[in-house]
């Protein structure tokens, strides 16, 4: 068994001769010939081979998956051999996409039906959509007469796997298609889906798996994620890699030639002028920002500064905008009624958004694959050129985007992280398995280990999850409250327990954290939602922006916020917490490499002309940009030293605000999160003071009101296990509390829907701190607690890459150089000056209350 890249490409003749003539005829009429992904994939799928297709949007990806399937179904239907059962399951992460696909399949089927009628043949293929939106009557209909092609979501699939009668329908499916697999593989929704597929495999060992993906890397891992494991080896899969089909027209633009000797106002003014100019020159522009807050800001500013150009022809599209509003904007986009649409991440995924001729990225998209995914939303036809512009806002951004562009052009894509051994998702799925049937523990383990995400699951973790599910962590008398499954230790079997089990499971399925969102309303009309954290910071009378419109806070009632329109008042723009996209580790390393190469030139005292030429060639950038990059590096070189892939620069500064250590650790914030907390934790233990942390992608700053003994801390970190230190450092952190809450919900320790009641996350009921405390009382190794720690360290942060950095320091591959500075060096400027809002203090509750107490005392005394 193996995973291999498909090299064989088929001709039109070969493909047509294998397709059902009716479908072939329709296809020829419509397209004449086949696209690249179709040439590689169609016959593979025809032969029932597992296939992963990675290609840009608009290259006929969907039909490359469906052609062989439709062909077979049409043939069966022609001969009246089509049974009333599901042949193909199509899974998409987006409900919105389901509707698109249904339409895109029904249209050709209608045309083919017509053709068939002319030849006196009857074709009847049913397509059914099953998502959270499907009504009860539709579901009942489906149960009576199942569709031949079922379109669904990962969550609905999990529900169907436990639907008493309907599940049998799934066990005969011949194909399973997973669309947008790149968007699933890197989060817990994907992990959850991978287990659902293995549950299906258990009952249906022969189905063929087809994955559709945008540009992503490494394809081998994503393919393995798609097909899973059989006897500890990856199942067969053919990878169709046509990621770089289209012409790329990407450029990095700076609103001003000089980004440093200008004020914020000037940059902002020029930025919006540039945006407006670009938008006006094109038919429809899609603008991506990195945060929802920025999305709001951009729409707001464009409307204000160029009120003639933008009225109803611009829209904001992000996950906080209400569904109705989002659908309205999508429709307008499809109909070409928008001049510009501004989005954060919500339009990255594949719903058909019509004709876009320009994509603007405001600020670095932080990873090469994300950049390609976003820019790929333009030019939605096969032969169109993809046109994207990256607009940079400061000099770090300039370098980041330039290196990103180089890698995109050279087809180097950063690797994704696929979460592994998630115990919360595991608990939820085992619960599902146990409800469906009585089953041997070892068979459950076999199902679980079929998933790529659990291929290395330790037996002990599996056992702990079973212990959790069977309530063995609680005392016997109250076990009935906690036990979710029946477990017989002698026969080593598990099964359903209690009458409510199925209802509880079915109504609490899923992995998307139930963050408390507050509905924003004017009377009964829902405008969208905002974060509970954000609400906590507002008072009546405050004005904020949502969906590009301004509203005034009136009052809150439960989980709704009543507002009124506030057109003429200046807003306090929402600041959504911690949604900054992190720089990918691979792209970070590429930037480090660039720094290394450039440093070499400076140290060899090459002429300015020579260096600029090098930058020009290396980054494919224009002269202005090269000059700006040169100046930036030159300043850093003259002022201090240039940090790079082999040199980690640490600057020590003492000023009126205290002692600071600035680490030029350009590894991305996921790694810096680990490193900075580990150092801060060691420092706070050795100097018994509170250490403040400021981080960004390029480095971090530790600050205290006393000198920080750097060498001592470094030695401690190199000697100890970094993972152990990191675990200690997050023990009382906000982030662990928050993530534990999510994990507790996924593992059904907290139920959103219970005994007919739906409720919000209910922070009022129990604070995250006390929730965490309640399980610390059981055991530090309680599986759900372990999972929350793993999620924080591996998924949110990047402990594995942090370990690599520490190893490289130990091996001497990275040398540390410490310097004393009067003021921060140019490279340190961003993290030192602007990072403050991101401050985390390394102190526990007790230290916190003591410090606040001192503050209050001072205030009282000064009176």
């Amino acid at each position: 068994m193996s995973i291999k890249f498909q090299t064989e490409k088929y001709s039109d003749k070969e493909i047509y001769s294998n397709l059902n003539p009716l479908l072939g005829e329709w296809f020829y009429k419509k397209f004449k010939t086949f696209t690249e992904p179709q040439r590689y994939a169609v016959l593979n799928i025809h032969k029932n081979k597992n296939t992963l297709i990675s290609a840009p949007t608009g290259t006929g990806k969907t039909l490359s998956a469906f052609s062989a399937i439709l062909s077979e179904l049409i043939t069966l239907s022609e001969h009246e051999q089509l049974e009333d059962r599901i042949y193909c399951i199509y899974i998409s992460p987006l409900r919105a996409l389901s509707r698109d696909i249904e339409k895109n399949l029904n249209e050709p089927l209608k045309e083919i039906k017509k053709q068939a009628k002319k030849k006196n043949k009857k074709i009847n293929i049913r397509i059914g959509v099953r998502t959270g939106d499907t009504t009860v009557s539709e579901r009942a209909k489906m149960a009576k007469k199942p569709p031949h092609i079922l379109i669904t979501t990962p969550e609905s699939l999990a529900i169907l796997l436990n639907a008493p009668k309907f599940r049998e329908n799934l066990f005969k499916a011949k194909w399973v298609i997973i669309d947008e697999i790149h968007a699933l593989a890197e989060n817990k929704r994907g992990v959850h889906l991978s287990l659902s597929l293995e549950r299906l495999q258990h009952h249906n060992p022969d189905f063929c798996r087809i994955g559709l993906s945008a540009t992503i890397s490494p394809l081998e891992n994503v393919a393995n994620f798609l097909v899973g494991m059989e006897k500890d080896k990856p199942r067969n899969c053919n990878i169709v890699n046509v990621q770089f089909l289209k012409n790329l027209d990407i450029k990095v633009l700076s609103p001003l030639p000089d980004l440093i000797n200008t004020t914020q106002e000037q940059i902002s003014k020029k930025l919006y002028e540039k945006l407006d100019k670009l938008i006006q020159k094109h038919k429809t522009t899609l603008v991506f920002t990195n945060t929802r807050a920025a999305t709001e800001r951009v729409v707001n500013h464009l409307k204000e500064k160029f009120s003639k150009n933008y009225l109803s022809n611009i829209g904001a599209h992000h996950s906080s905008v209400s569904r109705e509003k989002r659908l309205e904007i999508e429709d307008k986009l499809k109909q070409g009624k928008l001049k510009a649409c501004v989005s954060s991440t919500s339009l990255e995924l594949g719903i058909d958004i019509g004709y876009i001729d320009l994509v603007l990225l405001l600020g670095s998209p932080k990873s090469i694959s994300r950049a390609l995914q976003r820019i790929g939303r333009s030019g939605h036809k096969l032969h169109d050129t993809i046109k994207g512009r990256l607009i940079v806002l400061d000099r770090d951004d300039l370098i980041e985007c330039s290196v990103l562009l180089k890698n995109a052009k050279e087809s180097h894509i950063d690797r994704i992280h696929i979460p592994e051994n998630c115990l919360d998702v595991l608990a939820q799925q085992i619960y599902g398995i146990a409800i469906a049937q009585q089953i041997k523990e070892k068979d459950v383990l076999k199902i679980v280990k079929g998933s790529y995400c659990y291929k290395e699951l330790p037996k002990s973790d599996f056992n702990e999850v079973l212990e959790y599910l069977s309530g063995e962590y609680s005392e016997l008398e109250v076990r009935h409250v906690y036990a979710k499954i029946w477990r017989d230790k002698e026969t080593k079997m598990i099964g359903k327990r209690g009458k409510l089990a199925r209802v509880i499971y079915m109504t609490n399925i899923g992995t998307i954290p139930d963050e408390a969102r507050i509905k924003v309303k004017i009377k009964d009309a829902v405008l969208g939602t905002i974060d509970e954290h954000f609400l906590e910071r507002m008072k009546p009378g405050d004005v904020f922006v949502l969906g590009g419109e301004k509203y005034e806070f009136r009052y809150t009632r439960g989980n709704t916020l009543q507002v009124k329109a506030a057109e003429f008042r200046p807003p306090t723009v929402p600041s959504w917490v911690s949604e900054m996209l992190p720089l990918s580790f691979d792209l970070a390393n590429e930037i480090q490499k660039f720094r290394f190469l450039l440093n070499e030139k400076f140290e060899l005292k090459k002429s300015k002309k020579e260096i600029i030429k090098f930058i020009n060639d290396y980054l494919y950038c224009d002269k202005n940009a090269a000059e700006a990059v040169y100046n930036y590096f030159n300043e850093q070189f003259l002022f201090a030293k240039i940090p790079h892939s082999k040199k980690l620069l640490v600057e020590q500064i003492k000023d009126e605000t205290g002692n600071h250590l600035i680490f030029h650790s350009l590894y991305g914030r996921r790694v810096n999160d680990v490193l900075s907390r580990a150092f801060a934790w060691i420092f706070s233990k050795s100097v018994h003071r509170d250490v403040a942390i400021t981080i960004n992608d390029n480095g971090f700053v530790l600050s205290a009101d006393t000198a920080l003994p750097f060498e001592k801390a470094l030695n401690a970190i190199l000697k100890e296990d970094i993972e152990k230190i990191a675990k200690f450092s997050i023990r009382d952190s906000e982030v662990l509390k928050r993530r534990f809450r999510h994990c507790a919900a996924r593992s059904l320790m907290i139920l959103r829907n219970y005994k007919g009641r739906t409720k919000s996350v209910g922070r009022q009921q129990m604070s995250s701190r006390l929730l965490l405390l309640s399980v610390y009382g059981i055991s530090e190794d309680f599986p759900i607690l372990k999972e929350a720690r793993r999620e924080v360290l591996e998924d949110l942060m990047d402990i594995n890459s942090a370990k690599k950095v520490i190893e490289s320091i130990k091996d001497g591959k990275i040398k540390i150089e410490k310097i004393f500075s009067e003021t921060p060096s140019p490279f340190a400027f961003n993290v030192y000056a602007f990072g403050r809002f991101d401050l985390v203090r390394m102190e526990n509750r007790l230290e916190f209350i003591k410090r606040m107490h001192q503050k209050v005392l001072n205030k009282i005394e000064n009176k």
Partner: protein
Amino acid sequence: MNNKISSGVKAVGLGLFFEKESVLAIADFQLGYEEHLHKKGFLIPRFNFKKIKQMLKKMFQKTGKLKKIIINGDLKHEFGSVSEQEWKEVIEILRFIQKNCEKIVLVKGNHDNFLKPVAKWENLKIVDEFFLGKILFVHGHKIPKKSLLKKSETIVIAHEHPAIVLSEGIKSEKFKCFLKGKFKEKELIVLPSMNFVAEGTDVLNDRLLSPFLKQAELKEFEAWLFEEKPYYFGKLKQIE
């Protein structure tokens, strides 16, 4: 002094200690609060009982054996059906308290209708209110008769579960607290809850529960925040 609440009264743990009289007042244990959470879908393990016992132990170490312990209402959360486990906990806590004092005074709270079975216990009495000299103890869910108020100089209530949120930047933490202020020219002291499953009402932002506090000038109240020991934070208007 951080723990001096008023003349002759200091905070010990989450209780009020009247040293001269050898009396300790505590309130709002809400044993069985976990059951209440279970019904809402929070299947968290029980830990309130254990934590309360630990806290009491620490408090008794400081006070030594007492003459009286006043439980100012809500020993148990909610009425309605009581599980065997909950009964066990109630009895065990009361026995433990009994060992450390000569007499237990149980002031009725709004959740204490079920306590009849223990009413026959020796050295334990259940009352609607209790006077220690001129100090009136009531649970605080309703305002008592004028005649009672008239006789008092100080009123000690519970019921509110007062807490205060301290925030700085992205950080915010909630702490249980003691409150002291004026209610109709009398001194009013509010006890924090001994319930460890919830911190309590954020008195600066949440809707208040006790009619006493609803009628009082809350901003003028002084607060002692509790984390392992009390910390004096001055008047509430200064904390904002």
